[in-house]
């Protein structure tokens, strides 16, 4: 396919060309520049691999990697590519092993990725002479699995193929780091479960979806009907200095007083007053002490960490959402719902119930998968066209309201800086 030229209609990024979503070569350039160089990618939670030998197979960009815990308890992330013939040897999503062995020729590796054994390295004896084997100067130390740089914070594990990448803290920047530390404040995490879905749309659309506070009150009628979202919620939009990461922070008016009674959480006006939940326990919201930040008590903080992950707090439901590109026109979206070790039984049940809002069939999130698919369908038919993201102006900056698409403009400002360099 011939690369479509990208034409930015205006000076800034308020008119995003469809072509940023439709070209395979450009997609490969994005993988190279955002996922494989200079950036940290989310790989998982420490709680997913609590014991030595535990591992989880996941991806950085489109490359298969394995997050492991070695015998000394250290976390390693290695590429799932055998040093011999390049095979993706690990097929299980999770497990516990003493070592990794590629089934093709049984090359074996430690949990850290060091090559420990090569069959017939010294050849095979036959009729008194030794045939074949690896060259005498073959040194297993030179042929381990590709090891990624690893950073952990608050129980969350990040990795980078780029060993000269800046620190994770510098990568996030102080503004985003504060919100990250609010959610991952050192309490031990507990994995509640996973949702996985394939969304037939460009991976950036998922980042944009969580940088777009315009849609929740309009697309997600469930939110509005049952009072979880209003355009006049007290809100803030924050970004890192590069405008690549963001946090959408909102505080529902009555949050501090909610006691779990359906009547109280649904007291805001909705456009379908008559609608009631058969099971109001989906909205049994109980404020938690860790929500507090300065003098505020945000009920929802949605963080986008560019390029790979979204961290969600929607009232009592907390999750990570891992964006795993699969070509320019699709991505896998993996949700890890979690809680905290010190949660009461009631809070554990509450988080599980509220998780029903999210994931591929979530009362709310099912909508996002569809709109992303339908957007991609249109992009493919006319890549020379562009979209309009001018709500709240054409510039980029933090705001104290939600009626703006500034975070999307900010992300494309960064995108252009990196892609056009």
């Amino acid at each position: 396919m011939r690369e479509q030229p990208i034409h930015w209609e205006t000076e800034g990024t308020s008119r995003v060309p469809f072509a940023v979503y439709t070209d395979e070569d450009r997609h490969k350039k994005e993988l190279e520049r955002f996922f494989y160089k200079s950036h940290w990618s989310y790989v998982g939670l420490e709680a997913e691999i609590p014991n030595p030998g535990d591992f989880k197979r996941t991806v950085v960009g489109e490359r298969s990697v394995i997050m492991t815990r070695a015998t000394d308890g250290q976390i390693h992330v290695v590429e799932n590519v055998c040093a011999h013939r390049g095979m993706q040897f690990c097929r299980e999503r999770h497990g516990n092993k003493k070592e990794f062995v590629c089934p093709y020729h049984q090359w074996s590796y430690t949990l850290k990725g060091d090559l420990q054994g090569v069959p017939f390295r010294r050849g095979v004896r036959q009729d008194g002479k030794v045939n074949g084997g690896m060259p005498a100067d073959f040194d297993p130390k030179d042929h381990g699995l590709t090891a990624l740089k690893v950073a952990t914070r608050g129980g969350v594990v990040f990795a980078s193929f780029d060993h000269s990448v800046e620190s994770l803290e510098d990568f996030m920047g102080p503004t985003i780091l504060r919100y990250f530390d609010r959610l991952f404040n050192g309490r031990k995490l507990v994995v509640l479960g996973y949702n996985r879905q394939c969304i037939p749309g460009n991976w950036k659309l998922m980042q944009e979806n969580i940088k777009d506070p315009y849609h929740p009150g309009l697309l997600h009628t469930w939110f509005v009907t049952f009072g979880l979202w209003r355009a006049d919620n007290k809100s803030e939009l924050r970004m890192d200095a590069h405008h690549r990461h963001a946090a959408m922070i909102s505080t529902r008016g009555s949050a501090g007083q909610a006691t779990g009674q359906a009547s109280q959480v649904t007291q805001v006006s909705s456009f379908k007053e008559s609608m009631q939940l058969n099971d109001p326990s989906f909205l049994d919201i109980v404020p938690e002490a860790w929500w507090q930040m300065d003098d505020k008590m945000p009920t929802a903080v949605m963080m986008t960490l560019f390029p790979s992950v979204i961290f969600q707090q929607q009232v009592n439901s907390v999750s990570t959402r891992h964006i795993q590109p699969d070509g320019h026109g699709a991505f896998d979206f993996v949700w890890t719902h979690f809680g905290f070790e010190d949660d009461t039984h009631e809070m554990h049940e509450r988080r599980l119930r509220q998780a029903n809002l999210f994931g591929p069939a979530g009362f709310v999130s099912a909508d996002d998968g569809e709109v992303i698919e339908f957007s991609q369908q249109a992009f493919e038919t006319k890549p020379e066209h562009r979209m309009l993201v001018e709500l709240g102006g054409r510039d980029v900056g933090e705001t104290d309201h939600m009626v703006t698409e500034t975070l999307i403009r900010g992300m494309y400002e960064y995108w252009r800086k990196v892609m056009e360099a």
Binding site: K98, E99, Q106, S108, T110, Q116, G117, P119, R121, R125
Partner: protein
């Protein structure tokens, strides 16, 4: 008890390499080192490899697959990736024959 079983002729053995024998259905590798004969379980305790195909270094055999090393004297692991020792059997030579004491 002394259940000594004739498994091979001493002349079948040679320094630096092993041979496989199969008394009573067991898979055992014999090695001759400096005139002394050792018997060790032929299957590596790590991967699916035959130690009789391995390389002998001093009194150790190196597995041909993943380079784990076992002591020929007592089967202990001298080098990973193996973690489990390999079984060994007492050996004696009588009249040019190699005898193993199976249990």
């Amino acid at each position: 008890m002394s259940n000594w079983i004739d498994v091979a002729a001493e002349a079948d053995l040679f320094e630096g390499a092993g041979i496989a024998v199969a008394p009573e259905g067991q898979d055992i590798a014999l090695f001759s080192v400096e005139g002394e004969v050792f018997a060790i379980n032929n299957l590596c305790s790590h991967g699916n490899a035959k130690l009789c195909d391995g390389f002998v270094e001093g009194h150790h055999v190196e597995c041909p697959f993943h380079q784990a090393q076992f002591s020929l004297r007592d089967g202990s692991v001298a080098c990973g990736p193996a973690t489990e020792p390999a079984k060994t059997w007492p050996v004696k030579i009588e009249g040019g024959r190699v005898l193993l004491q199976l249990d």
